[in-house]
């Protein structure tokens, strides 16, 4: 009998929400880095950070998901590959790397306070629910459609 497909996810906390991103698009977990503000753009853009000599645009997960930062947050940046481009997602804390059988993840459900369009699925980590984010939908209103600056 074939094995049940497995879903690999990186689990992190943003405010009060436990969220996940598919491990396939997570390139790196970075500590929180000082960001340079970009004037005039959405407040969901935390700014630019220097990652070993390259610039990375970082989006603030708390603003995107309307969550309060917690005082005990260590802060981390999850480096994601979105449509061939790399962006950082600032989160409160990275919690886990999880392998769960795909059948144990349910299709998206209405969650109080979370835009259902941003939820790809919901699952359980122990007895704690987590949201598998639709990262492209989450970033779509913010990231540029007109390519890189020189």
């Amino acid at each position: 009998m074939p094995d049940s497909p497995t879903l690999h996810s990186v689990i992190f906390r943003i405010g009060a929400l436990i969220c996940a991103a598919p491990a396939g698009i997570v390139r790196e977990i970075l500590p929180r880095l000082p960001a340079t503000r970009i004037p005039g753009v959405s407040e969901a853009i935390e700014g630019l950070v220097n990652v070993r000599g390259s610039l990375l645009t970082v989006l603030d997960g708390h603003v995107l998901l309307h969550q309060e930062r917690r005082a005990d947050d260590e802060g981390a940046i999850v480096l994601l590959d979105v449509g061939g481009r790399r962006y950082g997602l600032a989160v409160g804390q990275v919690l886990d790397f999880l392998e769960v059988p795909a059948h144990s993840v349910a299709q998206r459900a209405d969650l109080p306070g979370v835009d259902p369009r941003l939820v790809r699925a919901v699952g359980l980590r122990g007895d704690q629910p987590f949201i598998l984010l639709d990262v492209e939908a989450l970033f779509a209103p913010i990231i540029g459609a007109d390519g890189q600056l020189p």
Partner: protein, 611 residues
Amino acid sequence: MDVSKYAALFLAESREHVSACNQLLLEWERDPGAVEPVGGLFRSIHTIKGMAATMGFTGVADLSHRTENLLDALRHGRAAPRPETFQLLFRAVDALGRAIEGAGTGSEPPADEVLGSEIDTAAGATVGDQRPGAIAPSANQTRPVQVTIRSGALMRGARASLVLRRAEAMGRVTALRPPAAQLEREDFDGRFSFRLESEASDDEVAAALCTAGDVEAIRFEQTSPAEAAIGIRGRQIRVDLGRLDALMKQVGELVVAKNRLIVLAAAAQDPLFEELSDRIARLVSGMQGEVIAARMAPVGEVFDRFPRLLRDVARDLGKRIRFDMEGEEIELDRSILDEIGEPLLHLIRNAADHGIETPERRTASGKPAEGRILLSASRERNSVALRVSDDGRGIDRAAILAKARREEMADASVETLTDDLLLRVLARPGFSTAEAVSGVSGRGVGVDAVMTRVRALGGTLDVKSEVGRGTTFTIRVPLTLAIVRALLAVAGNERYAVPLAYVAETVEFDPGAVTSVRSREALLVRDRVIPTVHLRHLVAGAAGPAPPRRPTIILEVGDRRTALVVDALMGQQDIVVEPFDAPRGMPPFVGGATILADGAPALILDAAALL
């Protein structure tokens, strides 16, 4: 011999010769009695033929040979240089260009027999005319000569010099490789080549050259591209641009590391560390200069294609246009040069189509029947200005304003179009005043396409126009894209980089010199009223109160100026423009980003957007 690996070299050298052919044909067409252009054309076509034959590109070699026959007929008066002959030669050069591109990229196009026959007819070709494969020089023809000095011969340089003296006694020697100075230093492997224009036969030439002594071999063959490359080693080599790009990127990272090292060394207060840091900084600056210099190329490389293009456009439009170029020797970074051709092409086509009037109309308005377009390049501080000027009808501001109002681009309160406003209207996507698409321009994709491309290069576009007198478009681009010298300006606790290319001077903000122009704040600097922009307001969100004394950066693009009031200046730094994914809604005054000496990212301000 596997020659396929020399295809890139063949392509590069043949392109240069095709470009030269176009220039020479234009020169000859202007003065059909001139002798020099014919000789030059002959040499270029002959060189292409030789290289193509070596590479086995029979189509290119055949077409070159037929063209050479026509040139020979013209040179010896068997055919007359009539307008239709020039047109035929232009077509032949175009066809050669296409055949070379195809051959060099692995798909040599089939021969255009119609064109070939036309060339043969014009040349009055005779039966049994020899085709390439056996390139036999005719009387007083230029032939390639390759000489090999015997290995182990003493004073090989002196031997080479003797051979050359013998050759010069028989005719004209050109295209010596390696150059004479290198031969004199004996910095060659015993082989050298040149072109000899002489009436003597091959046997006579060989016999004469051998009298110099220690000559092992004389060959009358085109030097293969590979051999040519060997011959010029140590002087000039062709380098793949990708390698220079990679080198530039490495140097860019080195510059960032150097900046960081300087900060660390200063903080450490260790004399040895500081001395080492200074030395590394000097070495990196030197290397940076060398790499930038290696990437620089004269704008003439882009300009060269325009005379031919304009000739064809003028023919299509039934206009008489004289095209002049100035400042072709001015250099720009290769990456900018590669991008600037298209915008210039747009402007030149626009000038020919919309600017220059028909000969009848020009004569009726008291102008010479022949219009003039001038393409020029000049250095301005750390940027280069490229101008396309015409002496045509000028832009009808009233018509543009009327159309702009109809299309709700300008409101009714605007009475006249200043140059700035005119440019903004012209650069609106899709804006065109042409009543009909002419096939040359007028599709409404001209000025906005130029503006977009120029802005992407960190450059600016200006227009000046006078009805009846003509129009000048000026493109200003930085000398190089990758590494720029910048002034660091502060607003609150944020730092911004301002490229020095557009900084005229810095002054202190004097509240007593504040005035107002059209209800906008301006600063009086040495009797000149300059509108102000406060960096704090611009980047809304800078923390802390503004300091009482504020430096002001006077930005200048062409004759436009803006005073940028900042909280503080932190000196100059070489900055490397770093790519990043720009978020939606990024304001136009942000021209890019960089990483400063302390490792923090900083935004680069686009001077043009502030003016």
